[in-house]
Symmetry: C2
Subunit: 531 residues, 2 copies
């Protein structure tokens, strides 16, 4: 009998469990279960304010139990052959809990208090606190700004400050504030261990200085100086063993007590091991409405435009780098919705193709090389970190067609990626090869070839549509350890268990030369429009 | 009984006659007649080459006779009360004739020779000769380049050289080469007088130096040195009396012999007197697929971007200035055809509005002020004279709509006009007020208000859709002279006979301030993209 690992992925609206063969990475079962209350828009009849986004932690537990039991049943694997469990979660999704892990939302008297619930990653109502953090950090020229550029309202400290200021009764009664991923691990093991990925990227945790640093926290608000000891917890590398599954959860999930549970990780970051990246010089692009760029390196290098660089942030033993483009698929959708006249929809229908595929086909056939766009329809995250920047299309003529504009925006997003790659390379982080996963990457061959030609790098595209849960299963095998049929070495685990590839795109030297010229225009335009 | 003047307008596809009351400018009759052969695509069964555009001069005569007789009949005016005749024609539309005015195309043996016919204004097959003229003019740093920037293949000398090189038999047999407008006047009066408007704008005629200048023509080709004396003719100011109507044409047209006939003018330029411009500081915009800017001044000032400055070029006694934007209505049409998705057509239909009116309504209602476009979809004529420049749209976001893009291109064309106005003003040509005529100007109130707000100048829009023919009728009254019931003074003629206005658009100071900021962006973008 083989050994298997369980990966549990908590997304924004549902949990998904996958069961993966430890020996060869083959996924043998998958089951998803939506959260009963989804994203809360009101709380017991009272609407939430502008920018609020809450969830009920009870939903997480319930969905987890359902999807894990279903996946195990579907797999036909005996509980004792599931040797490890990994968990990934959206972040920062933070909740106040009692010492034993009970969410404050389940404590009598707090059921109607919105601050007692999970503040989801996309809760934006802590913006005034983020502004305070950034103003002071800038004033003090804090070194953590080099690694994160600016603190987002989506992150840990602003959310914590919001509770402290706006609901002191919740703050006082909360023994701890915990990432939902770490809370799941706490449920499963009884142990409070904070994962280095979320603590680093969302809490600015550094092993040397803790969360940000004490003098800064003290200057921000004396009540925050000892927040780490008072309300947070011990940080361990994501993917490493936290402890064994409790009797209670073994029974609830239909698994074996004592099964190794890994420290959690952020959902997007779990894609890195899933696509097979276990060493430096390989960048993963998670491509959807926006694109997230991740990679590993042996050293910490800071440069403008990073969303974060975190020790053990992605894979234990490496510095994990994250960068991003604010809008990618979103721009293509905008073109389809707001720029494409009826005639192309009619032609697509005649050709029995969906409109994206049809526009890609026309884009590929077009010989126009005059149009050059800048991909800032939703601002520029990396490398300029300026949400006010806006998109540009140049080279328009009376003969320009909508498919040519589609082509220009596809190329623009590729130029945006190339500029991020160059920001890494210019600061000494080598990039040899690209990997891609996500909806666009797996569906659009035209687009992936443009990316290969623009960047001059080969791109391997993941074959899995559930790469994130798969990555957690790899961490589950690592938590199991060799002695239990898993792995002791993360590189070995990834080498054996990574998803396969649906395709590899190799740069065409002729096209590369053409795009070099256009890319110079893109850079000149970027410089001009960001002045 | 009142006195009346006849204006005959020769356009690209038809001739039109209007009869106008000399006392008050009221148009009492109008009749048009298409040219039987339109634009020739083949000649006696043989297709013409790429870029060729010919017409048969016999068509002009035939259409003129028909439309003039119909207009006179329609008016009910007695022939002796029609006291003057004015003629305008597209230019440069040049034909070879015998000494008595017989077109070479009507001379035995030349019926099948394309070079024996009229080379229409849009005949582009003389480009190699234009290239030769420009190269040599640049090399010699000829001063006429200051007034014209570059010699177009549409103009006189390249067309003449094409005949000389490609059809020496036609060149040898042609006693003269003549603008079609001057040829019509020659038919009507028996006198060969070249109008200063076409000779100046299309032939680079200057009273001091003649056509270009002899040393230059000699250097270009020794056969051209004496072209003025050998094949061209005496130049007189447009709108001034050439002579009396011959017996033959009085009979053909049903008019009185001896009626005064004015020297011809170019069709577009005839709009200037029609809208009531008889003095400096007033600029006329003829707005259609492209926009032509015209005005008068007492002095000759040269600056980059002029299409021409010509003594007596528009109104006798003034320097006439011409500038232009290559694409205006054409860009709006492009937006409608290539950028506007079906939903807006559906909404327009529901609102029972045509799509242009509906998009203008949405544009007017839009509060977006981020989009800034540069109007170079068909290159930039004035002030940069660069056909390779292309259009730009900046400020795009995921919320940008097609009507907002429509708004941005309307504003961009207004910014383009403002930049032309500033080019005039910067070189000392004062502009106090704007006038507009043409299809767009009369139909789109939204757009005209944008132009007033962007330029900060009041715009009076002509009420006539036949302004060009009306302008010729004013010149007809001038040719008649006061003694015959017309006018001796051009200012008085224009003052009495100009068309009325359908509306005046006054700048809104608040909007003006807003557009000043956007215009600065437009200028910065123009500078960047024309580097």
């Amino acid at each position: 009998m083989g050994k298997y690992s369980l990966g549990i992925d908590f997304g924004s609206l549902s949990a998904r469990a996958v069961i993966v063969d430890v020996e060869n990475g083959k996924q043998i079962a998958s089951s998803a279960c939506p959260y009963v209350h989804g994203v809360l828009e009101e709380l017991n009849g009272k609407p939430l304010g502008e920018g609020w986004a809450l969830q009920d932690p009870a939903d997480y537990k319930e969905s987890m139990v359902t999807c894990v039991r279903n996946a195990v049943a579907q797999s036909g694997v005996a509980p004792e052959d599931i040797v490890g469990i990994g968990v990934d979660f959206t972040a920062c999704s933070v909740l106040p809990v009692k010492m034993d892990g009970t969410p404050l939302s389940q404590v009598a008297g707090f059921e109607d208090n919105p601050h007692a619930y999970v503040k989801m990653w996309k809760h934006h109502a802590a913006q005034p606190y983020a502004d305070r953090v950034n103003a002071l950090a800038k004033e003090r020229n804090e070194t953590f700004l080099k690694k994160y550029d600016a603190i987002s309202s989506e992150w840990l400290l602003p959310k914590l400050m919001q509770v402290m200021e706006e609901a002191p009764e919740v703050y006082a009664q909360a023994d701890k504030f915990i990432e939902a991923g770490d809370w799941i691990v706490m449920l499963l093991t009884g142990l409070d261990r904070r994962n280095s990925c979320a603590a680093g990227y969302k809490g600015q945790y550094d092993p040397q200085t803790g969360y940000m640093n004490k003098p800064f926290l003290k200057a921000l608000d004396p009540r925050l100086e000892h927040i780490e000891e008072e309300k947070l917890g011990k940080v361990v590398p994501s993917g490493t063993l936290v402890g064994g599954l409790t009797e209670e959860f073994a029974r609830l999930l239909g698994l074996k007590a004592g099964t190794g549970v890994a420290a959690a990780t952020i959902d997007a970051h779990a894609a890195v091991p899933a696509v097979g990246i276990a060493s430096p010089a390989r960048m993963l692009m998670i491509m959807g409405t926006s694109t997230c760029h991740m990679m590993l390196d042996d050293e910490e290098k800071c440069f403008k435009g990073l969303c974060g660089v975190v020790k053990d942030g992605i894979i234990p033993g490496f510095y994990g780098y994250e960068a991003g483009q604010c809008a990618v698929g979103d721009i293509f959708q905008w073109v389809i919705d707001e720029i494409v006249p009826k005639k192309y929809f009619d032609l697509a229908e005649q050709a029995d193709m969906d409109i994206f595929a049809y526009m890609s086909k026309l884009a590929q056939e077009s010989e126009d090389e005059n149009l050059v766009a800048v991909d800032w329809w939703n601002g520029c995250r990396s490398p300029l970190m300026d949400g006010n920047l806006k998109g540009v299309i140049s080279g328009l003529t009376l003969k320009t067609t909508a498919p040519e504009i589609f082509k220009a925006v596809v190329e623009a997003t590729a130029f945006g990626t190339r500029r991020i790659i160059e920001a890494f390379e210019d600061s000494g982080v080598r990039i040899d090869q690209l990997y891609a996963c996500g909806g666009i990457a797996s569906k659009n061959r035209y687009m992936m070839q443009v990316y290969a030609d623009v960047t001059g790098k080969t791109i391997s595209v993941s074959s899995s549509s559930e790469a994130v849960a798969h990555g957690s299963a790899i961490f589950g095998a690592l938590a199991a350890g060799k002695a239990n049929g898993g792995y002791d070495d993360v590189g070995e685990a990834i080498g054996k268990m990574a998803c396969g590839y649906s395709g590899a795109y190799v740069p065409n030297p002729e096209k590369q030369a053409l795009y070099n010229g256009k890319y110079r225009k893109y850079v000149a335009m970027s410089d001009f429009f960001s002045k």
